[in-house]
């Protein structure tokens, strides 16, 4: 589903190379995790895939079901089924969460040539999805992420994912800023979306999220490359030994 080949990326402003040839393939139905120390390029990879400005792809490719996503605008990537759950969801004063969610859903449907969802149908849909994530009516009415707690922001990300039903979900440090209960709730939301046709790339610094969202494959990233790939046991090795030892053993 998601194929990344020898991807090299430079940060435009600082003229600094962040990704130095990333190779990664996430098949449909699989959950892959990327772990790595701070500064290894994990978040950059997620931003580059989602299409944020400020990065220059200097080599390699990234495709979603053989479509080149790097050539697309962020909204086109979203409409073709890519979703990034942000590490730091953005607060947007003055834009109501409901308006935002409905505009997002209908924009994607329109781009795919599907009929838009009517206001009453949308209301039913969003209420059902929100209930599963313990998101109350007040959170839906408020401006996007404004005044939300860390946990509320992350739940709002998962709500968007549940609503938009992307094919490929990238979760960037979704566990950061979450207490144990919130992490359970968010993980339950993610696990409910696991299905044969959907791929996940879970980016995390710590192993604890992977206790809740169990990956099929774990990659270790360091200095802009995937340096090791293994099963779930690799995550536990990181937890026990830290990144330094693994990086040494690879080197």
């Amino acid at each position: 589903m998601l194929k990344i080949k020898d991807l090299a990326v430079r940060l435009e402003e600082e003229d600094k190379t962040i990704l130095r040839g990333v190779d990664l393939e996430v098949p449909a139905g699989a959950v892959h995790a990327i772990m790595g120390p701070n500064g290894s390029g994990k978040s950059t990879l997620s931003y580059v895939l989602a299409g944020r400005d400020g990065y220059e792809v200097t080599g390699g490719s990234a495709t979603l079901d053989d479509e080149d996503i790097l050539e697309m605008d962020p909204e086109e990537r979203a409409a073709s089924g890519l979703f990034l759950a942000f590490q730091y969801p953005v607060e947007i004063p003055g834009v109501g969460n409901m308006t935002f969610l409905r505009t997002a859903l209908n924009s994607q449907r329109k781009a795919r040539g599907e009929p838009e969802v009517s206001a009453p149908d949308f209301l039913k849909l969003i209420r059902a999805k929100a209930k599963e994530l313990n998101i109350d009516a007040d959170m839906l009415k408020r401006p996007v992420n404004v005044g939300f707690s860390g946990g509320e922001k992350k739940r709002n990300e998962i709500l968007q994912m549940a609503l938009l039903e992307p094919r490929m979900c990238i979760l960037d440090e979704t566990d950061s800023g979450l207490d144990v209960d919130a992490m359970k709730l968010v993980s339950r939301g993610v696990n409910a979306l696991r299905s044969e046709g959907r791929g996940f790339l879970v980016i995390t610094h710590y192993q604890r999220l992977l206790d809740h969202i169990e990956p099929d494959v774990v990659h270790i990233m360091a200095e802009g490359r995937i340096i090791e790939t293994g099963g779930p046991e690799l995550a536990r090795k990181v937890e026990n030994e830290g990144y330094t030892d693994i990086m040494k053993s690879v080197a």
Binding site: A50, G51, R52, D53, D73, P74, E75, R77, A78, A79, F83, L84, F86, P89, V90, E91, I92, P93, G94, V95, T99, F100, T103, A104, L105, S107, Q108, A111, P143, V144, Q160, L164
Partner: protein
């Protein structure tokens, strides 16, 4: 000292205007005093501090008044669906034949001509009086010109609640329009004045007696070359004045709002949304004077500027000695959509009382790139994402409007402007 050039320009502006005839003595005196004010101040020039950001040259060319014309299509005017109480000015001339019957229970309406011909009129305390008082600290020569020469307009006297009037200017012929309205809101009475269309020189003087309320909503979104408006309001005890203007595109637009809270516990709110692109130049200049005790004033201006458009905000809060417990607030903000757009703000405070709370702030910047990316990453196309952020930005000015229908009408105008943006 007025320079010879300024004085001679003022003389030319005056001589271009026909001399009104058949007026009462008090009106002739008010006109003469205004002529003197204009000649003493002279025409405004770019070197004047008050015109630092806006070149008044296009506003000081002697006006050639329009004559006649037919009414334009009003279907795009959102106020027409909200009220049928329209007073129509075509080519600057009031057209009773095209207007609704204007007097309503609680609202008496006369033409300016009738009013200035009467020996006894409540408007005698207003005509040229508020305008002159509004020049205590700064010259406003274009308002003096209006007092000296305007012959078209209405006198509105609200004596009860619920009055609504829609003043609409149709400029369908060559030539300029000059309009003058006088408003008196009696004790405890209420009035809503809607204004749409544009006239080259408009002055409104509004006297709001104790406990009275005046709401003013103005829409400036039609083609225009250069216009100057002045709104002078005197706000009594426990009285309230709220004005909102949406200015979209067009040429040079200078809106001066000058209010004074003369009684205690008065409120004066002045808000505006500017949506400008191309070569538009929109200047909101506000002067708020606190004289009474415990009065509250708010200035909220939001500017959305694209192309090579310029937005200007000059806002002053002047607190007189003894105006204790004043609560003055001012915010002016701009979003620049293109590199060529510019916003200039000049906030000023002048305070002679020692127990007051006054604050002001101003910001200028682009749309938040992080917010734009977030919206786009969810599938919202770039233009739609920008429109959402612009609507949210303008909303902070629009929400100053109390009436939901009027606020919605302004939201629709913002939406329409964004849809029409290149």
């Amino acid at each position: 000292m007025v320079t010879e050039a300024k004085r001679s320009a003022a003389e030319q502006m005056l001589s271009a205007m026909p001399a009104p005839a058949g007026e009462a003595g008090w009106a002739r005196e008010a006109r003469a005093a205004a002529r003197t004010r204009l000649l003493e101040s002279g025409a405004p020039v770019r070197r004047d501090e008050y015109w630092k950001y806006t070149d008044p040259a296009a506003l000081t060319t002697p006006l050639r008044l329009a004559d006649g014309g037919v009414a334009a299509d009003r279907s795009r005017d959102p106020f027409t669906v909200l009220t049928d109480r329209v007073a129509l000015f075509v080519g600057g001339k009031f057209r009773a034949d095209l207007s609704a019957p204007l007097s309503q229970p609680g609202l008496a309406v006369a033409t300016l001509g009738e009013t200035l011909a009467q020996d006894i009129s409540v408007m005698r305390e207003i005509y040229g009086v508020l305008e002159a008082a509004g020049q205590e600290k700064v010259d406003r020569p274009l308002a003096s010109l209006n007092t000296a020469a305007s012959t078209e307009g209405l006198a509105l006297q609200a004596t009860g609640p619920g009055g609504v009037i829609h003043l609409r200017y149709d400029n369908v012929v060559e030539g300029a329009a000059m309009v003058r309205h006088l408003i008196r809101v009696e004790e405890g009475a209420e009035l809503t004045v809607l204004e749409s269309g544009v006239a080259a020189n408009t002055v409104i003087e509004a006297d709001i007696a104790d406990g009275g309320k005046l709401r003013h909503i103005r829409l400036q979104n039609e083609d225009r070359v250069a216009i100057a408006t002045h709104l002078f309001a005197k706000i009594g005890s426990e009285a309230e004045f709220k004005t909102f203007t949406l200015s979209a595109d067009g040429g040079l637009t200078r809106n001066e709002v000058v209010i004074e809270m003369t009684g205690d516990n008065g409120r004066g709110h002045i808000a505006g949304a500017v949506l400008a692109q191309g070569e538009s130049h929109i200047d909101n200049t506000v002067f708020v004077t606190h004289d009474g005790v415990a009065c509250e004033s708010r200035q909220v201006f939001k500017n959305v500027l694209g192309g090579r458009a310029k937005g200007i905000f000059q806002g002053k809060i002047f607190v007189r000695d003894g105006a204790q417990k004043t609560d003055g607030y001012q915010i002016s903000q701009a979003v620049l959509l293109d590199d060529g757009a510019e916003f200039s703000a000049k906030p000023e405070l002048e305070i002679y009382a020692d127990d007051v709370a006054c604050s002001h702030g101003s910001t200028t910047g682009a749309l938040d790139p992080a917010a734009l990316f977030y919206l786009r990453s969810r599938g919202v196309p770039q233009k739609a994402a920008e429109a959402m952020l612009i609507a949210a930005f303008a909303e902070e000015a629009i929400e100053e409007i109390d009436d939901d229908n009027l606020a919605d009408a302004m939201r629709a105008e913002v939406e329409r402007w964004m849809a029409g943006r290149g």
